[in-house]
Symmetry: D2
Subunit: 335 residues, 4 copies
């Protein structure tokens, strides 16, 4: 008995489908940033933002929001320059890391393995760069946060730690946003290679892509890509934590004002996602977004929404305010 060409083709097609299925991320996990003023940045993220310290190693502090189930969603690294070191994503299955490796090899893409346990609470990790140069890492295993301090443990099994309402007190980590020179190109790479769906985008009147928003999960975006108006390469625009209500957003703005944290823009409302936002600068210069609202996307065949030149400004702020110049040009570096 011999194998027909059809049989071989069929198997190949099955294999490709499965590989495709496996080479996808599950969700954004955390971001690792370098901060020049660790003490003040830590004060900002704990006292003003109300994040919780999961672990403090002196020059590295691991943080999470009160209902982040993971051990950390933000890592602060003492650093000579304010920068972003890693954008970390969890993959969709235990087999995915190997599948990604096969894919990267096929593509002759550079990548690096970090052995499990090297990074706090994290298993084997695959590191590489996007076309625009963003440092990305993928992992399957990551510790969940387990509360061992009775003072902060909640009697509610749904609360990884007690809700204290301290500071801004966001519910969870949400997304990152990056300035790049060529939005369309970078977006396609994220969608095709990592399986992060394209959700909506803004085109200007010369048909240049000004921004694209992407997610693997049902939230509207886990990563946004915006055109760097200076065209000087990739810069980290902001990281974002999510609040439960407009009221909490206003409360956050009040806390920023009392604590001398500059609000760059907002309160405003992105028409694109429906996100009601404020943007602030933490003491080491990273931009942080605090937001609420927005829609979820359930359709498995979602077609990206286009915001053309006319609707674009409403996409940025449907209430009519204009973003400051800095919003389209300022970001922190990638290391």
């Amino acid at each position: 008995m011999s194998i027909s060409k059809e049989t071989i083709n069929h198997e190949q097609s099955l294999l490709e489908k499965l590989e495709k299925q496996m080479t996808s991320v599950a969700h954004l996990g955390h971001v690792e940033i370098g901060v020049t003023n660790l003490e003040k940045s830590l004060w900002f993220f704990t006292e003003v933002m109300g994040l919780y310290v999961s672990a403090n190693e002196g020059d590295k502090v691991y943080l999470r929001a009160w209902q982040d189930f993971d051990h950390h969603t933000l890592v602060l690294n003492k650093s000579d320059v304010s920068c972003v070191k890693q954008i970390a994503w969890r993959v969709s299955s235990p087999e995915s890391l190997k599948a990604f490796e096969r894919q990267f090899k096929d593509m002759n893409m550079e990548f690096k393995w970090i052995e499990g346990g090297t990074k706090k609470g994290q298993g084997d990790t695959l590191q590489f760069r996007s076309p625009a140069g963003l440092p990305i890492e993928l992992y399957w295993e990551k510790e969940l946060f387990v509360n061992t301090d009775p003072a902060t443990a909640s009697k509610l099994p749904s609360h990884p730690s007690k809700y204290t309402g301290k500071g801004v007190s966001p519910r969870r980590f949400d997304h990152v946003n990056i300035l790049v020179n060529d939005v369309a190109k970078e977006q396609q790479w994220w969608t095709n290679l990592l399986g992060v769906h394209h959700r909506y985008y803004i085109q200007n009147d010369e048909n240049v892509r000004l921004g694209s928003w992407l997610s693997r999960t049902n939230i509207a975006h886990e990563i946004a890509l915006m055109r760097n108006s200076n065209q000087n390469g990739a810069l980290f625009h902001h990281l974002a934590y999510y609040l439960d209500s407009p009221d909490e957003l206003i409360r956050a703005a009040n806390l920023m004002a009392e604590n001398d944290i500059k609000i760059e823009w907002g309160p405003g409302k992105h028409g694109t996602s429906g996100a009601q936002f404020i943007y602030v600068f933490e003491p080491s210069g990273h931009r942080v977004e605090i937001w609420t609202g927005g829609f979820l996307i359930f359709a498995p065949d979602w077609k990206p929404i286009e915001w053309g030149p006319e609707a674009g400004p409403l996409g940025l702020d449907m209430w009519g305010s204009k973003a400051p110049e800095s919003y389209f040009a300022y970001g922190t570096k990638f290391l």
Copy 2:
């Protein structure tokens, strides 16, 4: 060249994985209910709740929330008895319906095809019953809502129709809840056959399952199963629409009071999901939940949270109120 056993086994294993992948729902789509008083129920859902009419066929009215992208998420049918006719789910891929058919045949399960176009805005549909007798239908194709009335069209491409803020004005359809005799059994069927993940559950002190909450998407639950305290079979407990804030929930309670709609329970807060809720009865006797808050689940390997006998009451209301008896026994019928 001959095919080795390994090759065949390998192919079978691939096929099984793919079948498993395909035989899963994508998300809850809509619920079709029979109402004895169509006029008053329609008044409730449009004037008090603020849902939008997508189509009105006289004895069938199709409704959606302002940001539901689908053509409808609720169908009201003029009926002699208040009942639930279908709980409809979208499947995860175009191939899924056929894959489900193969699966059902293998299991000798009864099912029925409804040809595409028979149901308004819906493609080929597979109908069948769960072990407890719930009428379920699966579809891949469903029309999106397209606004053709300039008066209700929004200039925002992210808004399928203008936000008017009329009545309760929920953002979107959320979930259904069912009373059954045997929660654990029904839950396993939903998880194993339809791929709806188990998220959290309540056990009483005799280790009987009092409730289980399940979802395929990142929201905490799309379907809940609760133990019928009368043990007289499956009953429809409620359908739920989602609000953006606690403030909107209080506003909803005020609107219910002014419109003589009985609030059965709430405002309260389920400790399990963090849902802040009110439950009301619409004029034909169906229970409707309006809620806000709650968490999203991103982990692809989520382990269901157990709420044991001690934490259970907090799971029902962490603020300390007790559900009325009716909450555990009253429901509308399945047809």
Copy 3:
């Protein structure tokens, strides 16, 4: 027996105290505005703002918020020019109108009586002008709103009419704001003659008064006076309705955006009063403020709070946004 000088002086002193007591307003009652586009302005105030029509006389429409107990707090007059016709205040006692008349005569101030019943729902009325030329009227008697339509009557005796939550749906009328050339002078007149307490004020670095906020009641201001940056006389800056929460303010901003009503400024937060605000232009060109928050003043010997050159900008917006130029110069006329 003869009357001693002391006895006479004593009686005079008592009389003066009582006169002082009587010549004070009780609270701001309503404002009467001329609108060039009555139809569109009426659409704005009823459909977008959600005010209720108490009476419609064709070219005059009487409006109130859902919990305004008075028959009206806003009157729209069909007019050739957008203007403000009267700012009406209730006086503190039945004897006050006569006491004011005595006072005005002593001061040789011009005034005019309007007989009770001439104006809808209003008793005898005294009309006159402030130094800056604002048209003011005082009255003691004004009809309360009595709901005679079962469709809008509430079963709650505390609700003059049912709460519908339609549109912005403010709870009550709040204050007026006026641009004048000389703030300090106008403020002193209002405080000394009408008994409206001075609450807080902004001085620039040349010690010029930029704004003063005054109230007779416990709310932070019923009338505000701001410096006209063009120094071209008195202009009506805005009228304001009050909301119950920041959440409702954000909802209001969303409704403005969907209804193509330009938001001039906001959401922002005045540091002075703590008012969280948006300012919009209604279709005939009057500025309308919608706001929430702020403090109440209970001290009978309140000392006005000074906002000097350094704190002043925070007084305008403590979140850091800058008011547009138009905010300090644009207003509608007084007739």
Copy 4:
């Protein structure tokens, strides 16, 4: 020249009017409570409620909300029994204390002077009892809170101290509520003698007064009197602090749940005032209300609103929940 009888009568009438004017309170100032567990009560009021300590004398702690302008609005006294020691009101003018003294002497009422400075931050004080036995004190002078700690001082002159958002973080002290045997009698005394206006009341179907709400200021009530269902004399029902929004109320309920503070009733909504509330017990057994919403009363001739037997239950909770038995019977003692 002789004095005519008319002249004398006239002077007497003037004097009476002025006396009446002077013998009125201005507003509720603070309440002084005895607590059996000072440490835990202090933890509750500072860590959970988020009140600020103005002064701590070891067995007496002076507290205020973040925007209370007075030095304190609550005093905790270490005590063998949980009790209420004083309900303190500010009077309306510097002459009022003497006028009250004249009045009390005329009525042969017992009273006591406490010399200025004896009580922290308070001038000369007049102490006496109401018919039901409530301990009342009146004062004119009381220190304002002056922030001397740079860490808690705000750059905003309108903020007596920085807003931190810690715990429940109410904006201001609001009112007290007392259980008495005879509501109508006690209410008349407060209105006639102290000038505290009657705002609304509930009558049962036997025409017995179940509750009366009174205020001197524009807020709906500063003191409430409710019928003690046990008819065993006067008991302190609760003290109340005010929040800015329904959202903050829900947040407060969450904080109570996480901190094991029992919520006796709520979230609910009093139809009478529109107050959205929760009632909790602080660790020494005093009931505390946290609330938001409600209306202001501006009319100088306000006619009390009657809530008859039919509307009464809506007056208690317009959302339909029933107060627990304890709500009508439990209170702490007056010393």
